[in-house]
C-alpha cells in the first residue's frame, strides 16, 4: 500500500477507535446511572482511544517512510558483485540512479550490465516487500494500540486530563517544527559559509572593496582571479535601503498620522485598504515599473539638468522600493498611534492645544518607540528585497555613494551566483552562502532590536 493511502487508512482507524471508545464509555456509564458518573465526558474517552490508535501508527509510518529508501539502497549496493563496488559517494549515487532507472523501466535492461539488471530486480522486490511490511506494521500498531486504549476505558479513568496532555505535546511538536526549520536553514548556510572561508580568506571577504566573482573553471582557463570583497555589495544595499527609507518613512508616517488623527471614518475605510494594497503588489511588478518607467525618467531628468546618470540607477530602485515599503511603515505606525490612549489626546486638547500640537508634542513622543520598531522591520524588508534591484539598479558592483550610478546589492548577487547550473565546490558559488549568512545576521540583528523596542513599548500601556 502506498504511504498516502496508509495515512488515510490510519485516520479511518482512528475515527473507528473514537466511536468505539465513545460507545464503550457510554455503555460503561449506563449501569452506573448516566454519563455524569464518568470521570470525563464520552467525547474524551473517544478522543483518547483515537489518539492511542493514531499517534503510534503515524510515528511508525513516518519513521519507516523516512528510512526505508536509505536502507534499501544500502542493501542493493551491498549486493553488487565485488568488481562493481562503488569507490566514492559520487560513483555510488551514479550507480543507484542507473539501477533505479532500470527498475522503473526508463532504461531498457538491454542497455545495462547484467549485475545492474539484477540489482534493479532486487530493488523492485525490496521495495515491494518494504511496502507490504510497512502496511502490515502500521495497521497492526494502529489496531493494537487502539484496542489497548479501548480496553483500558474505566469510569474512573481521567481521559480528559490525558487528552489535554497529549494535545499539549502535539502543539509543542508543531511549534518545534518551525524552529527546527529555521535551525536547519542556519546550519545549511553555515556549513557552506565555512567551506567558502576555506577557499577565500576572511579578510578579503570582509574588507575587500572589489567584487568580481569570476573564477577559472579549469586549471588551464584564462580568467580573472576573482575578487570577493563584500563592501561594495553592502554599501549598495545600504544606499538603496537608505533611499527607500527616505521615501517610505516620511510618507508612511505622515499618512499614518493623517489616517489615525485627521481622516474621518469613511475616508479611513477607503484609504487604509488602498494603502495596504501596495504591499500586495508582486515585487516583479514593482520591478518593471522601476526599470521601465522610473529609471528612464530619472536618467532623462538628470540629463536635462546636465548631470550624468546611468539608465539603471540606485535612485530608481530605491524610490520604488520605498513606495513598496510605505504600507509597512504606515500600517504599523497607525496601529501604534491608535494605541495611544484617547485620554492623552483629551488632556492635551483640553489645555487648548491644537490637533497638530497634540500630535507633535504628546502622541508622537508616546508612540515613538513603537514607530521605531515598525521602521526597523521595514528596514529589514528593504535589505532583503531583490527583484526590484535586479531589474532597476543593475548588476555592476560599484563602490559609490552616488544614487545616480548603477549599484548592486547582496541579495542580487546571491541570485546571480546561484541561478543556472552551478558547481558546489567553487568559491564563486559558495560566496552566495557567505553573503546569505551575512545578510541573515544583519536582518536578524535588526529584527531583534525592533522586537525589543516594540515589546518595551507594549509594557508602557498595558
Amino acid at each position: 500500500m502506498q504511504p498516502a493511502n496508509l495515512l488515510l487508512l490510519t485516520l479511518v482507524l482512528a475515527i473507528v477507535a473514537y466511536w468505539l471508545g465513545y460507545a464503550r464509555s457510554r455503555s460503561l456509564a449506563m449501569p452506573l446511572g448516566g454519563i455524569r458518573h464518568l470521570k470525563s465526558l464520552p467525547f474524551y474517552y473517544g478522543a483518547r482511544a483515537a489518539l492511542w490508535s493514531g499517534i503510534p501508527a503515524l510515528i511508525v509510518l513516518g519513521l519507516w517512510a523516512a528510512f526505508q529508501g536509505k536502507v534499501i539502497q544500502l542493501i542493493v549496493i551491498g549486493g553488487l558483485p565485488d568488481g562493481m563496488m562503488p569507490a566514492s559517494q559520487g560513483e555510488a549515487s551514479l550507480l543507484l540512479s542507473k539501477i533505479s532507472n532500470v527498475a522503473s523501466g526508463a532504461l531498457p535492461p538491454g542497455f545495462a550490465e547484467a549485475p545492474i539488471v539484477d540489482a534493479a530486480e532486487r530493488l523492485k522486490a525490496l521495495q515491494a516487500q518494504s511496502r507490504l511490511l510497512m502496511s502490515a506494521l502500521v495497521i497492526s500498531v494502529a489496531v493494537l494500540a487502539g484496542f489497548l486504549g479501548w480496553l483500558r476505558i474505566r469510569p474512573r479513568l481521567n481521559a480528559r486530563a490525558q487528552v489535554e496532555s497529549i494535545l499539549k505535546w502535539v502543539f509543542f511538536a508543531c511549534a518545534a517544527l518551525a524552529i527546527l526549520t529555521t535551525v536547519g536553514i542556519i546550519f545549511s548556510v553555515a556549513f557552506e559559509t565555512f567551506r567558502f572561508f576555506e577557499k577565500v580568506p576572511f579578510t578579503e571577504f570582509f574588507f575587500g572593496s572589489h567584487w568580481s566573482p569570476q573564477t577559472a573553471l579549469r586549471a588551464d582557463q584564462v580568467a580573472s582571479q576573482g575578487a570577493f570583497g563584500m563592501i561594495p555589495l553592502f554599501t549598495g544595499t545600504l544606499l538603496i535601503s537608505a533611499i527607500a527609507m527616505t521615501v517610505a518613512v516620511p510618507v508612511g508616517l505622515l499618512s499614518a498620522i493623517y489616517l489615525s488623527e485627521y481622516a474621518g471614518k469613511k475616508v479611513r475605510g477607503v484609504v487604509k485598504p488602498l494603502l495596504e494594497m501596495l504591499a500586495g503588489i508582486p515585487t516583479v511588478v514593482y520591478g518593471f515599473f522601476a526599470a521601465l518607467t522610473v529609471a528612464p525618467f530619472i536618467s532623462d531628468l538628470a540629463a536635462s539638468m546636465g548631470i550624468e546618470a546611468s539608465s539603471q540607477s540606485a535612485l530608481a530602485a530605491g524610490a520604488v522600493m520605498g513606495i513598496m515599503i510605505i504600507p509597512f511603515v504606515s500600517s504599523l505606525s497607525d496601529d501604534v498611534i491608535n494605541a495611544v490612549p484617547q485620554a492623552m489626546r483629551d488632556g492635551s486638547l483640553a489645555l487648548g492645544a491644537t490637533q497638530s500640537e497634540t500630535m507633535k508634542k504628546v502622541i508622537f513622543p508616546a508612540a515613538l518607540p513603537g514607530i521605531m520598531g515598525g521602521i526597523l522591520l521595514a528596514v529589514s524588508r528593504a535589505i532583503g528585497e531583490t527583484m526590484i534591484v535586479v531589474m532597476a539598479a543593475g548588476l555592476a558592483a560599484n563602490l559609490t555613494a552616488n544614487p545616480l550610478e548603477t549599484v548592486t546589492t547582496v541579495t542580487v548577487q546571491i541570485v546571480t551566483l546561484l541561478t543556472g547550473d552551478q558547481e558546489f565546490d567553487s568559491a564563486k558559488t559558495l560566496a552566495a552562502f557567505a553573503l546569505g549568512a551575512m545578510l541573515f545576521l544583519a536582518t536578524l540583528l535588526l529584527n531583534v532590536i525592533a522586537l525589543k523596542i516594540v515589546r518595551k513599548y507594549r509594557e508602557q500601556y498595558d
Binding site: 474621518g264 471614518k265 490612549p341 485620554a343 492623552m344 489626546r345 483629551d346 488632556g347 492635551s348 486638547l349 483640553a350 489645555l351 487648548g352 492645544a353 491644537t354 500640537e357 508634542k361 504628546v362 513622543p365 508616546a366 508602557q460
Partner: protein, 295 residues
C-alpha cells in the same frame, strides 16, 4: 450608556402601561416636564449663561432643553444617575464634544456673553480659559515639569526659562503637590501615585491660568485619602476659579459645592443651594436619588 437609559426609562414608564396599583412613594410616577427645572437655575452674575441646550449623539437626544447659569467663582456640582447626561453637558462648556463626530449641540451657550459655539470662535482660546480635569488621571508620559509646562509653552505664557519655572512652581503649589515633587521634577509623571497624578493634572490645568475648571468625576479613581486632598484643593481653588464638578459621590457634592444640579435622563430636574438640595429637595426625583432609592 444607552442601556442604562432604557432600563431607567422602562422603570419610569411601566406603571402607566400596566394596570397595577402603584405605591405612592415610587418615583416612577413622576413625569418630567421638558425644560422645566425647579429650584434656582439662574444667577445674578453668571459666568456661563446656558439656554435651551440640546445635545444629540446621532439620533439619540442626550441633553433635553437645559437652561442653567453658572455663577462667577461658584462651585457647582452635577449629580445624577449614570447616563443622565451630566458629563455630556460638562463637555459642552469647553467644546470637548467637538472631537466626537456624531455629536451635535443646539441652544445658546455663552461664556461672559461670548457665544461658545460661534463657528468663528477660536476653540484653542476657549479651552485655555476653560480648563478640564478628567475622570482618570491622564498625565502625559513626560517629566512632571514638562507636564505642567505643557500648556504655558503652547500658549507662549513665559518668555524666559525663569518665568516658566515660576509658573510651574506656582501651579504645583496651588495643587498642593510642590512639597512632594520639588526634588524630582524631572521624574516621569506616570511613576506617581494615582492621587498625585490627578493633582498634577489639576496643576497642569491651572498652569494656563484658566477662569473656569471643569472636573469630570475627578476622584472616582482615587482612594479616600487622595480624594480628601483633591477636595481640599477644590475648596482652595474656588476662591479664584469657577469650578464645575461632576460627581457620583453625593457626600462629595455636599462637601465641596455651593450649588448642586440634579440631572435625570438628560433633563435638568433641580438646581439649588447644596444644603437645600440635600436637606429639603423640591422635586420627587431628586429626593429619591439622594435618599438612595435609585442611581
Amino acid at each position: 450608556m444607552n442601556s442604562v437609559n432604557t432600563t431607567i426609562a422602562s422603570e419610569v414608564s411601566q406603571p402607566d402601561e400596566v394596570a397595577v396599583p402603584v405605591q405612592e412613594s415610587k418615583p416612577a410616577e413622576t413625569v418630567i416636564e421638558e425644560g422645566k427645572t425647579v429650584g434656582k437655575p439662574f444667577s445674578d452674575d453668571p459666568k456661563f449663561k446656558l439656554r435651551d441646550v440640546d445635545v444629540f449623539y446621532g439620533d439619540t437626544r442626550a441633553i433635553k432643553q437645559i437652561s442653567l447659569d453658572i455663577g462667577r467663582n461658584e462651585v457647582i456640582a452635577f449629580i445624577g444617575p449614570s447616563g443622565c447626561g451630566k458629563s455630556t453637558f460638562l463637555r459642552c462648556l469647553n467644546r470637548m464634544n467637538d472631537s466626537i463626530d456624531i455629536c451635535r449641540v443646539k441652544g445658546s451657550l455663552h461664556l461672559d456673553d461670548h457665544d461658545i459655539y460661534d463657528p468663528k470662535r477660536d476653540v484653542v482660546e476657549l479651552r485655555a480659559r476653560v480648563g478640564m480635569v478628567f475622570q482618570k488621571p491622564n498625565p502625559f508620559p513626560k517629566s512632571i515639569y514638562d507636564n505642567v509646562a505643557y500648556g504655558p509653552r503652547i500658549h507662549g505664557l513665559a518668555n524666559r526659562k525663569s518665568d516658566l519655572d515660576e509658573i510651574v512652581e506656582n501651579s504645583l503649589r496651588k495643587a498642593g503637590l510642590w512639597e512632594e515633587v520639588k526634588d524630582r521634577l524631572d521624574a516621569n509623571a506616570t511613576g506617581m501615585s494615582g492621587g498625585q497624578q490627578q493633582r498634577l493634572c489639576i496643576a497642569r490645568a491651572i498652569a494656563v491660568s484658566p477662569e473656569v475648571v471643569l472636573m469630570d468625576e475627578p476622584c472616582s479613581a482615587l482612594d479616600p485619602i487622595a480624594t480628601a486632598k483633591v477636595e481640599e484643593l477644590i475648596a482652595e481653588l474656588s476662591e479664584s476659579y469657577t469650578i464645575v464638578i461632576v460627581t457620583h459621590s453625593m457626600q462629595q457634592a455636599a462637601r465641596v459645592s455651593h450649588r448642586t444640579a440634579y440631572f435625570h435622563l438628560g433633563h435638568l430636574v433641580e438646581v439649588n443651594e447644596t444644603n437645600k438640595v440635600f436637606t429639603s429637595p423640591e422635586h420627587e426625583l431628586t429626593e429619591s436619588y439622594i435618599t438612595g432609592r435609585f442611581g
